[in-house]
Each structure stands twice: as structure tokens, then as C-alpha cells.
Symmetry: C2
Subunit: 311 residues, 2 copies
Amino acid sequence: MHGRRGLDWRDLQYFLAVSRGGALSVAARELGVEHTTVARRIQSLEQTMDATLFERHPRGYRLTRQGEQLLAGVEAMEREAQEVAFGAGGGLSGTVRISALEGFGNFFLAPRIGALLEANPDLTVEMVTIQQIVSLSRRQADLAIGLTRPSGDRFHTEELTDYRLFIYASPDYLRRHGPVRRRGDLADHIFAGYVDELVFSPALDYLAEVGIDSRQVRIQNSSIQAQKAAVQAGLCLGVLPAFVAESTPGLVRVLPEEISLLRTYWLITRGDEAGSSRLGHLCRVLRNETRAAQALFLPSRNTAACEIRPD
Amino acid sequence: MHGRRGLDWRDLQYFLAVSRGGALSVAARELGVEHTTVARRIQSLEQTMDATLFERHPRGYRLTRQGEQLLAGVEAMEREAQEVAFGAGGGLSGTVRISALEGFGNFFLAPRIGALLEANPDLTVEMVTIQQIVSLSRRQADLAIGLTRPSGDRFHTEELTDYRLFIYASPDYLRRHGPVRRRGDLADHIFAGYVDELVFSPALDYLAEVGIDSRQVRIQNSSIQAQKAAVQAGLCLGVLPAFVAESTPGLVRVLPEEISLLRTYWLITRGDEAGSSRLGHLCRVLRNETRAAQALFLPSRNTAACEIRPD
DNA sequence: CACCCCATGTGCAAAAATGCACAGATATTT
DNA sequence: AAATATCTGTGCATTTTTGCACATGGGGTG
């Protein structure tokens, strides 16, 4: 401690400030200390680590290569520290981070967040909308909405809602390429779909399940929104969640009686936090909102002769 | 800083030691300071965070609920700090973390690591063998060996080797259940395979590609080693990489002329580090080792009428 | 060119942190 | 029961850290 043994984390805070400000004096103002203190902490850190972290210039400090490597790690620590600062301190006012797939996040949750925040002024909801569920175990998210049910008992999991997917096209596309009358016609069309290596779950492998040859997937994108846009622009067909495709008017279903996929969103929390008031409340809201929106997720389809479900 | 403003990360180090040791005196011995110092740092931290982190007992300190929450975050910081301590310090002696799938990691790389370490005494190779490739972008690994090629240009990717998979059975199983003579016979057997929700890449979805109904997958495990074990025990059939199944004698191929899958391992590094001496050297070793072991990865199969490759 | 501003770096005084000695409480051992 | 070991907590002396004043150097402006 204090330089006699091991790495002093406080020195890392000084390091971060200098890296950010680019000068001792800037960091000092930021931290509310004397610049001489900053210089000495940096020197102490360099001694402890036996590394030169900054080049000294008359107009400031510049990170060395070693310094840059260190910065990445210290920034990661900072992210943890920021969660820590909120997590243990306040109690009821704080941040809940939701990790959700883009479709659910952007098309369902985002329009409803405003009302939630209004009803709970001390609550901050941070939504991470990505293609892959972030790790609950690393505390990157407090609550995840995923497509698959995690194994083991570390998490509390419940079924949130089923949702349906259809093949969609724009009317313009169908006018130009002719109507699709039977499943066999699909081979004559191009599709939008996920980039292959980003299909991290079989539940997202819609096209293979419908029987679309991967060579037909000429428009590959990691974003469901972009896939929808391509379909809307009349470039191709696409398999889209109904609540996504039908959130704006214009797209028509292709062979809905014959081809329809069913998937499930799961609500996942860490087992030790499901009862906390913030998270518990948010879970209730999510349950209620999805229950109220069942017509969105599960629109009536006439008679699907082929409803494919992964298990 | 020092309690006048914001969270002092050094106090978190003290907190961690007390959480671990369960007493001021234990933490003090661990840190090489006086226990009174430890008490005062904890008190300072509690004041800064306005939280009671420990219950005081005559025989030690016990984490409160708030303290437990804080501990998770601080342990995450510690993990980053440990990487930091190695990353920027040494230079050429250091750790390279490889992330590889279990098959490649355990059956190919592990037996060869010893020789590598002997030839490079200052190099430590840490091998993370999991079911999913850990994140290079989060610096969780320096080098990944994966099944799919990442998109974008953030990483440097090269094809390491192809490898073949066959259906395997134990002779005992075939004696009890009769020989498999044609593809249609496969429907009468049970298989070992991956747990559904852990099939994170279509490249791992062997069974579906071979045409095995998911109801036949009666033995599901996230570990290829366990799947191999089940096949060896005569419980079922399984689709296994040849270099895995044939690393020990005993298993026989089923319909190898007719059914054979081909996959590829990719060598992935961060673009900005491929030239570093440690990593560059390790990449060369990996290339050489896999090239020398082509007979392992790509054993001759007689005449595969159906060789399935994902793209 | 002179002046001003802003940067880093040195040495000493002041403030903060830590070590040390001691006290009290509890649990375990003799 | 008494002795011993181990724990936490208080107050004062010592050590370490930080602030302050000053010096030097570089860049920009009038």
C-alpha cells in the first residue's frame, strides 16, 4: 500500500485524469488538487509498474504505448466503479440497465420507457440494445431479455412473451417481382437476413428454418431495423417479427397461412436481485406491458400449416 | 481525493481485503499495515458512500447487504486491475490469453502448450477453454480461435485449419443396437449433442445439418468432451470432430463415406497487436502446429457423397 | 521585442495518514 | 475459574502526502 507494496488503485485515478486531460494542470483542476500532487502520483505509479506511461512535453503529457495499454484496463475499472458508486450508495434512486435484443428494445420497449420514467422520477433506465445479450454475471446489465433460457440456477428466468414472425414484402416489391403464391416460389427471391457470424442463437436463424438458401441472403445486416428498411425499400423479402414489421404500415405478409415462426422472449435477472424494489418494479411493468400488447406480439394468422418452433 | 471528493479507489482495496479476511486484523496482515489504518479506511469509505458496509462484531466484520453489492463491483475492478498489472508492466515476459473452443483447446492445444512454454521460459500462456469465444474487444483474450470469421476490420483474422467431423459410435453400442447401414437408419438412434440454448453458432449445429431430429438428442451437454464420453460409454451416437474422437482409440465412424461435415478454425487477434513479439510468435507456433497436424484435422474419408459445409 | 499565459518541476511548510501503545470485550484453552 | 489469544477501538507521536511559493521553459499576441 501507498507505494510500498503493490499497485495503488488511487494512483490509477490520477492516471486516468491525466490521460483524459492531457496535462498535469488540467488533471489537477479536475481532481481539485495541486498539479505537483498529480505529477508525484504519476511518478509513483510509473515506479511501481516499472513502466513509462507518459512522454513529457512542455505543453502536456502524452500517453506512451504502455500508457495506452494501461488506459484500457483502467477505463474498464472506472466503468465498474461507476456502477459501484450508484449501486451501494443511494438505495432507491438509481440506474437499472436492461439488455435487450434490438427488436424488443427499439420497437417495443423504447416507446414505453418515457411513461415508465415519468411514473418513477427517481429511476433511471439504461437500455442496451445490441445483437447479443450482455453478461449478467459481469454486472453489465441488471436485467436481460433474451431469446433463450439460460441454463443453471444462477439466474431467475421467466417467460415474458411469445412473438410471431412472418415473411414480409413491400407492395412495390411484389408488383415488380410478381406475387408469391407457394413456398417453392421463395427460391426466386432475395432476402435480407443477419450476418452469418452474428447469428449467435439458433432462435435468430430464421431463414434457414424457413428453408431459404444462404445464397439468397444477399442483404446481410446485424440490425433488424436495417433489414426492415431493406424490405420496406422494396429491395428484397425478409423474415421479421410481426411487432417490428407492422409497427409502421405498408409491409404485407407473404404466405402467412403457410409460413409463420414462433419465438419467445425470456426475462432474466440475477437470482439475488429479483426482489429489489427497483428491479422488481421494472419486472412487473415489463410483464404488464407485454401482456397488454399480446395482439402486437401474436397477431392472428389465418391457418399456419407450418409453424416452426426451435424446440 | 482522499475522501474530500468522490470515491477513493484505494479505499476499495482495503474494503476488498476486509471482505476477504473477515476481520480488520486479518486484512491488516494481508496488506502489511496496521489494523487501525484498515478501520479508518473503511470508515472513510462508508462516509463517502453514505452506506454501512459492515456489521461490527467482537470477532470480526461481516458484510451488510450493501457491502455485498459493493463487493461484486470491486471484484470486477480487481480482475481488471490484475490484467493491468501484467499488461503494462513487463514487456516481453507476460501473459497471452488464448480463447479457444473446447475441442481445439483441450484436444489439440493443451498437449502442445508444455513444449511451447519450455521453448519460451518468459512466456505465460493462459488458455480459456469455453463454449463461446470471449471478447477480444474487452481485452478478455489476446487471441481467439473461433468457428466463424468476425465481420468488420477491428480484428485480424486468418484461416487456421479446416477440420472434419463424422458420426461416431462405440463398437459395443453397434453390437447392441445393430449396424447402421444407411442414412435412414439414423432415425432409430439417440444422439449426444449440444444443449440447445448453448449452440451459439450455426457452425456448432452439427446434428440439424446431418438431419437428426432434435427429439433424438437425448443426451445434451455443453461440453464436447462429455459428448465424446457418452459415445464412448456406448450410450448413443454423436457427431464429433475427428481429431477429438480419434485422439483415443476405440470409436468407429458411422457412414463416413456418406456423412462428413467440414468446419474451419479461424485465428483472430486484435488488429493492433498482431505484430507484437509475444503474440506474433504464438501465432506462428499455432500455424506451424496445425499445419503439421493436418492428418489429425482432416483425416482421409473414403468418398463422402454428402459433405456439408455451412457456407 | 516584450508581455502574458500556461505548462512542468523543485524545495519547504502544513496537513493528513499511519504506526504505536494501550484499553476493553469476547472466545478459547488450561 | 484463571490465563491466554484474538478481536475492535482510542489517542498521541511519527511519517508520508499534499499545498504553496517559486523557478524555468514554451507558445501566442500586441
